[in-house]
């Protein structure tokens, strides 16, 4: 198992380097321009100077290597400096800078992580908490009215886009009832009961919209996996031994059915960090998803490059984690 993990980790290095190059190449060849969104009152000659000041006059490969140096060497060194409060070398090194904000991209990411993790992460947790019981009951009482309704609702959650459910919730709860704010306040600090209530109020709508979507997906997996296991011989054996039905379902069947579901959940975790572009836009959560979309619109190449690469790292990493988890949970699977 350990050897397997090490081997896989070593393999990820060339994979990630290749991914980073592909991302850079695609972004660079895309017909986009960082001065494209500036007002037309800025004359073309000035635009050309801006482009030069951003380093766009240099060849693409040179810019790629520069990014690699900034991201793989300068940023980690900078992080170590901050954590241990030391200075390595002269401490002066160029970090990956966003073109639009002229500030280090990594700082922007760190600034946005809290709200993304809170809202999107919470929605994932809520989604799982809703999905698992629904999946279990739907499978156990297959074709009952509960199962039928569950199927219908999850189809709905799956097929209705979040920009629709989001707007619907805003119209009902913000405009008509005026219960919750339609705009998320990222500067709110939870210091006492009142600010906690405010935080809960502003999180409810985006969290529920996303949780609905996530739950729909996961509950289907849960149901299918439960159905597979309920037919197995060991379930009959357990019943024949005289175990209580509750023990049979919740201990034996549920544990075994969770194995593939956990893999699915682990594979979905990178999405949490990737943020939810549409939902974040609708509720103005301004997390990582919104940062990415602004970067794309403004042709802020270093920002988009760094963000997409971080997502790529997370996806590769969580694939590995899912594989390892699978091995740990299921004794039949061994990698060595």
């Amino acid at each position: 198992m350990f050897n397997f993990t090490i081997r896989r980790l070593i393999f990820t290095i060339p994979t990630l380097l290749f991914i980073s190059f592909v991302i850079f190449f695609i972004l660079d060849t895309a017909p986009n321009d960082p001065t494209g969104n500036l007002p037309l009152t800025i004359p073309p000659e000035v635009r050309e100077k801006i482009r030069v000041s951003l380093g766009l006059d240099k060849p693409m490969f040179f810019r790629y290597l520069l990014w690699c140096q900034q991201f793989f060497i300068n940023e980690p060194l900078n992080m170590i400096e901050q954590w241990f409060d030391i200075t390595i070398g002269d401490g002066e090194r160029l970090r990956v800078q966003s073109w639009a904000t002229r500030s280090p991209v990594v700082d922007l990411v760190v600034e946005r992580l809290p709200q993304t993790l809170w809202v999107v992460g919470m929605s994932y947790v809520v989604g799982i908490l809703i999905a698992i019981p629904i999946g279990v009951i739907s499978a156990y009482k297959q074709y009952s009215w509960f199962d039928q309704i569950g199927t219908f609702v999850s189809m709905l959650g799956f097929s209705v886009p979040t920009f629709f459910t989001g707007l619907l919730l805003i119209v009902i709860f913000s405009v008509q009832l005026q219960w919750f704010p339609s705009i998320y306040d990222t500067t709110l600090r939870v210091t006492d009961w009142d600010s906690f209530v405010l935080q809960v109020k502003q999180m409810i709508m985006p969290v529920m919209v996303l949780a609905f979507f996530n739950a729909a997906q996961i509950s289907r997996f849960m149901r299918a996996s439960m159905l597979d296991n309920l037919q197995q011989d060991y379930v009959r054996t357990a019943r024949a031994k005289g175990l209580k039905e509750k023990t049979v379902v919740l201990v034996h069947v549920l544990r075994n059915s969770l194995i593939p579901v956990i893999t699915v959940i682990a594979l979905g975790v990178p999405q949490v960090f990737g943020g939810a572009i549409i939902t974040e836009q609708i509720f103005k959560v301004n997390g990582l998803g919104q940062l990415l979309i602004i970067g794309i619109q403004g042709a802020d190449i270093p920002l988009v490059q760094t963000l997409t690469f971080i997502f790529a790292v997370l996806i590769v990493l969580f694939n590995l984690i899912a594989d390892i988890l699978y091995g740990l949970l299921d004794p039949r699977i061994r990698y060595d």
Binding site: T35, T41, P44, R51, S53, Q97, R102, S174, I183, Q281
Partner: protein, 568 residues
């Protein structure tokens, strides 16, 4: 709990006592908190590193220019005693220098005095060749900025400048503090994150927290020059989302007090306004949505000489065709469909300020399909079997491009239909705005390359002086491969008479004479039909009904008078 209440009350009472002693019942910060929403979030608070309106507007609450424009387009002093003119001796007789005199006793928000050295520094900061300054055009022809004494600054130009109010006038060219930015000049400019996110200024507010592309928290500037202003103690400047959501947050839910640039369907805006929580404001600057007519041949077969002056356009070089295209358009309907209250019919490319607005072209206000058909018939363009006109084997078939935007696509569809009625075939194309307006040399889809027959977009100019704007259509501004497609003369119009007027305007100081020239240039462009104006577009914003003092200003930042805002 009780104790804290008591202490709070005591603190409040003592605060009241001090303000009462100061003899002012209109204390700074009396109205608490206000919320502003810009659906495009601010990325940076240094206008020299970002030309985006959102960034300039946000920074205008913190840093200020020497003078700004009021809501009627008049220049008013901000940091100076008065506006220099030839009459008061502030502008030299030969129009090559301007001398500004700072108000006495001005302080930066950190308490240090504002001096002429700060102004000189700001000029050097922007004119540094390595800084990539986005407002460089404001410093055109400036040869020197010098401090005559602590409060006097003299700006010298390399040639006579009849309108010397480029540098330091308007929200896009504010004065920054020399002490704060001294290590941020040239190539180091973009690395000064802390300075760019929290400039020290003279404006009514200071930054307390800046979250890039998200939210700015601001507090009243304790050193602001007017003791009773601003009325708000704190402001939240939120960014993100879309225009409709921003409008909703002011007009329907009342969570926000002011929303900027609400380009949304007029009927939706009217519905929201009917809720009674806020008011929709509109104001008209010189922004005109227009069609640009390509006078050169964009045929791909021409290779490198495509869309250059070497090859005139096969049919758009015929003035009758251009005129017919203009006559076929129902501008009233376009305004109604696309802009409602935020648009007006115009027949000029220079409709504002009022003294420059010509009335010579008003016939375009009425659609005239029959007239357009007659004109084309007379010019020898006859309808073929499919109803499309042709002459000498040239078919009137147009590729019509614009940026991707719901209103623009509606306009394209309508105009295509009208042109169909006069026997002109139209193919529509829309391109993502960042690509269309971007200057990527490798992209064939930029508006400068103009590899199409007609293109549509809106353009305007900063401030109130149209000299540079009208200069856009001189021969030497034609984009071509030789100048890396850098140029603003999209129609590739070249007329020696026009160039002569551009030159004449550059040497004319008298405002009435300048107005006459600007009108004549506008009329020449309009009567040659090289540009077809469609809609005079306004700015639309929404303000809460509880907010007092908001004046929409199209000549400067939307937040130009935020110091005067208060709660009703």
């Amino acid at each position: 709990m009780r104790l804290t209440h008591f202490m709070m009350a005591a603190a409040g009472a003592s605060l009241l006592a001090t303000t009462a002693l100061a003899g002012s019942h209109e204390a700074r910060g009396r109205d608490g908190h206000a919320n502003i929403i810009y659906w495009q979030a601010a990325s940076i608070l240094n206008p020299y590193l970002s030309g985006g309106t959102k960034d300039i507007d946000a920074s205008s609450m913190i840093i200020e220019p020497l003078a700004h424009y009021d809501e009627n387009g008049n220049m008013v002093p901000t940091l100076v005693e008065e506006i220099p003119t030839v009459a008061n001796g502030g502008v030299s007789e030969d129009l090559t220098s301007i001398t500004w005199k700072l108000k006495e006793g001005l302080k930066w928000s950190d308490g240090s005095p504002v001096t002429s050295a700060d102004v000189v520094f700001t000029g050097e900061y922007c004119m540094n060749p390595e800084g990539g300054c986005q407002q460089l055009a404001k410093f055109d022809d400036v040869t020197g900025i010098e401090a005559l004494d602590d409060l006097t600054v003299k700006i010298t130009f390399g040639k006579p400048k009849p309108f010397p109010y480029g540098p330091f006038v308007g929200a896009s060219v504010p004065v920054i503090q020399a002490k704060q930015f001294e290590n941020c000049v040239g190539a180091a400019a973009p690395t000064c994150t802390e300075q760019n996110f929290g400039p020290i200024g003279t404006g009514p507010f200071v930054v307390t927290e800046f979250r890039a592309n998200d939210t700015i928290s601001l507090a009243a500037n304790e050193n602001y020059r007017e003791a009773s202003k601003p009325a708000f103690a704190t402001i939240t400047f939120k960014g993100g989302g879309d225009a409709a959501a921003a409008a909703r947050s002011v007009l329907e839910t009342g969570e926000f007090d002011y929303a900027w640039n609400l380009q949304i369907a007029p009927e939706i805006l009217a519905q929201m306004e009917a809720k009674g929580k806020g008011t929709v404001l509109s104001g008209f600057g010189p922004l005109v949505e227009r069609l640009m007519v390509n006078l050169t041949d964009p045929d791909p077969a021409l290779g490198d000489e495509r869309a250059t002056v070497k090859h005139p356009h096969p049919f758009l070089s015929d003035k009758a065709v251009r005129q017919a295209l203009s006559m076929a358009i129902d501008r009233e309907l376009l305004v109604e469909v696309g802009y409602g209250k935020a648009g007006k019919v115009t027949c000029n490319v220079l409709p504002s300020p009022e003294i420059y607005n010509s009335t010579a072209n008003d016939s375009c206000k009425v659609q005239d399909i029959a007239g357009a058909n007659a004109l084309l018939d007379a010019a020898g363009w006859v309808r073929g079997s499919d109803g499309i006109r042709e002459k000498d084997g040239v078919r009137l078939s147009i590729l019509y491009q614009t940026s991707t935007n719901a209103v623009r696509q509606d306009f394209q569809a309508l105009i295509k239909q009208w042109w169909g009625e006069i026997g002109v075939e139209t193919e529509l194309k829309n391109i993502d705005a960042a690509v269309f307006f971007g200057g990527d040399q490798s992209s064939p889809d930029t508006f400068q390359k103009f590899f199409a027959d007609i293109e549509m977009y809106a353009n305007t100019f900063d401030g109130t002086d149209p000299e540079a704007y009208m200069g856009n259509w001189a021969c030497d501004k034609i984009p071509s491969p030789e100048n890396a497609w850098l140029g603003s003369n999209m129609p590739r119009y070249c007329n020696p008479e026009y160039d002569a007027m551009v030159k004449e305007m550059a040497g004319t100081a008298d405002i009435n004479e300048r107005a006459r020239l600007a009108k004549a240039m506008n009329d020449m462009l309009m009567q040659d039909y090289v540009m077809i104006p469609l809609v005079h577009r306004g700015n639309v914003a929404a303000a809460s009904n509880t907010l007092d003092g908001v004046k929409l200003n199209v000549w400067d930042s939307d937040l130009w008078n935020v110091a005067d805002w208060s709660r009703k």
